[in-house]
């Protein structure tokens, strides 16, 4: 089966105060501002080559507006449109959005707005395409190169997981399994990395976190330093997940949305025939926080 989704292309979340939070995203997290259009700011990591991957919209609440996945080829959008029809999923065609082409928008059983698109304006990253340096100078804050994945909550996780597996053909990399065999949570992938999307139990439409890449141990500890220097609200870490093996820092933006630095450099790569890793419910502690070996109070209860 070919890959048809190249990446988690966009996460849009809500901000209680756009001026305040934009300052945080640009100077502490260190994203690059593409543009501010009314109540929405469009941003991306310095190594991302399309116009934006992260949008922040002012609202009276925190949480996720939508997640969008970019297909590998334009034809893959037609392929998925047919699948949505085949499975009776109601969807809207969004002819265009900010610097982006046609998209399919639908609600997942988890209560989240999900979009598929292929065309977004190609802007290049912050490096020249001829004889580039390895990284650009003048970055601020943590300055992650790119968006990595998102984790969301669902009241019936098994239904949501099956939807992404069956309709959108995500593969399962890891899962947390109850003693009766029920899947409690799952990590799902399309590009050959441990996950593009993960689903855990919780309220409909809940946003647990969006993760940005940090690509070395040095960058991980530097990120923690930056957060502490700015008195940011660190939830957990630096640490490591048992699931995915990735390194992590969980922290909150000023509106209370959780973010993560994800160190996929310690994680594995997937092949299409890789079989899912199972974690038993009694091992949820090390599955999530490998070093402390137990969940903290906030992991399953605090999200927006």
């Amino acid at each position: 089966m070919p890959y048809r989704i190249s990446r988690l292309g966009l996460v849009e979340i809500r901000s209680l105060d756009l001026d305040r939070d934009l300052d945080y995203y640009l100077n502490v997290l260190g994203l690059q501002l593409t543009a501010r259009e009314g109540k929405t700011a469009y941003m991306k990591g310095w190594d991302e080559r399309h116009a934006y991957s992260f949008a922040l919209t002012e609202s009276d609440r925190a949480g996720m507006v939508r997640m969008a996945f970019r297909t590998v080829d334009p034809e893959d959008l037609d392929y998925y449109e047919n699948r949505l029809k085949e499975f009776g999923v109601r969807y809207d065609v969004i002819p265009e959005d900010y610097r982006r082409g046609r998209a399919l928008r639908f609600a997942a059983p988890s209560g989240h707005t999900v979009e598929l698109y292929n065309e977004m304006e190609y802007t290049g990253n912050m490096l020249p395409t001829v004889n580039p340096a390895p990284w650009p100078e003048g970055l601020r804050g943590i300055a992650p190169p790119r968006l990595d994945h998102t984790l969301v909550t669902a009241p019936e996780p098994q239904k949501a997981i099956e939807f992404f597996q069956t309709v959108l053909e995500f593969r399962l990399s890891e899962m947390l399994v109850a003693p009766d065999g029920t899947t409690i949570a799952a990590w799902l992938w399309q590009r050959p990395a441990p996950h593009d999307l993960a689903i855990v139990p919780g309220k409909p439409g809940g946003f647990h976190h969006a993760a940005f890449v940090v690509d070395s141990a040095d960058a991980l500890f530097r990120a923690a330093d930056v957060l502490a220097m700015h008195k940011a609200r660190i939830d957990y870490g630096p640490g490591r997940h048992g699931i995915t093996r990735g390194t992590t820092i969980y922290f909150f933006d000023p509106s209370g949305n959780r973010l993560e630095t994800f160190g996929g450099y310690t994680a594995y790569q997937m092949d299409p025939d890789c079989r899912a890793i199972r974690w038993t419910q009694d091992q949820i502690g090390p599955a999530v926080f490998y070093y402390s070996q137990e969940l903290n109070e906030t992991f399953l209860s605090v999200y927006t």
């Binding site: 105060d17 925190a62 909150f252």
Partner: protein, 129 residues
């Protein structure tokens, strides 16, 4: 909705005081708070432990109920604190600042824990009931 502690005390002399007392019911502890600190910060600063989450007004984990007194609510997600909720006395302790002396009704969900000895030894603000 007030987002910061208003200057000029709204013409009310009782607001000119530098500190307010916060009585925590039913644990029977009274602490003090400055207008600059949030209710959550005042409770943690007293050496007690209490459950909280994002500290950004987004998740609602630190929600508490006022029995008496008045707070400035700050920026709170309408998804976790509605206007009706505010009318019924609910507030997010990570955002709210005391505008008067307060009495707060803690519930099991707040997970108030007694003072730790090392915080009592440091310049804390807890007082006997």
């Amino acid at each position: 909705m007030a987002t910061t502690v208003p200057e000029g005390n709204c013409g009310r002399p009782e607001l000119a005081r530098r500190t307010y007392t916060i009585a925590l019911s039913p644990v029977g502890v009274t602490i003090s708070s400055t207008p600059e600190e949030t209710v959550l910060a005042a409770i943690l600063g007293s050496g007690a432990s209490i459950v909280f989450g994002c500290r950004g007004g987004g998740c609602g984990t630190c929600k508490m109920r006022l029995i008496s007194g008045e707070v400035a609510h700050g920026r709170c997600s309408a998804a976790v604190l509605s206007e009706e909720g505010k009318q019924s006395g609910w507030f997010l302790s990570c955002q709210a600042h005391a505008l008067t002396d307060l009495t707060i009704e803690l519930t099991a969900a707040n997970k108030y824990r007694m003072l730790t000895w090392w915080r009592q030894m440091s310049p804390g603000k807890a007082r006997e009931p």
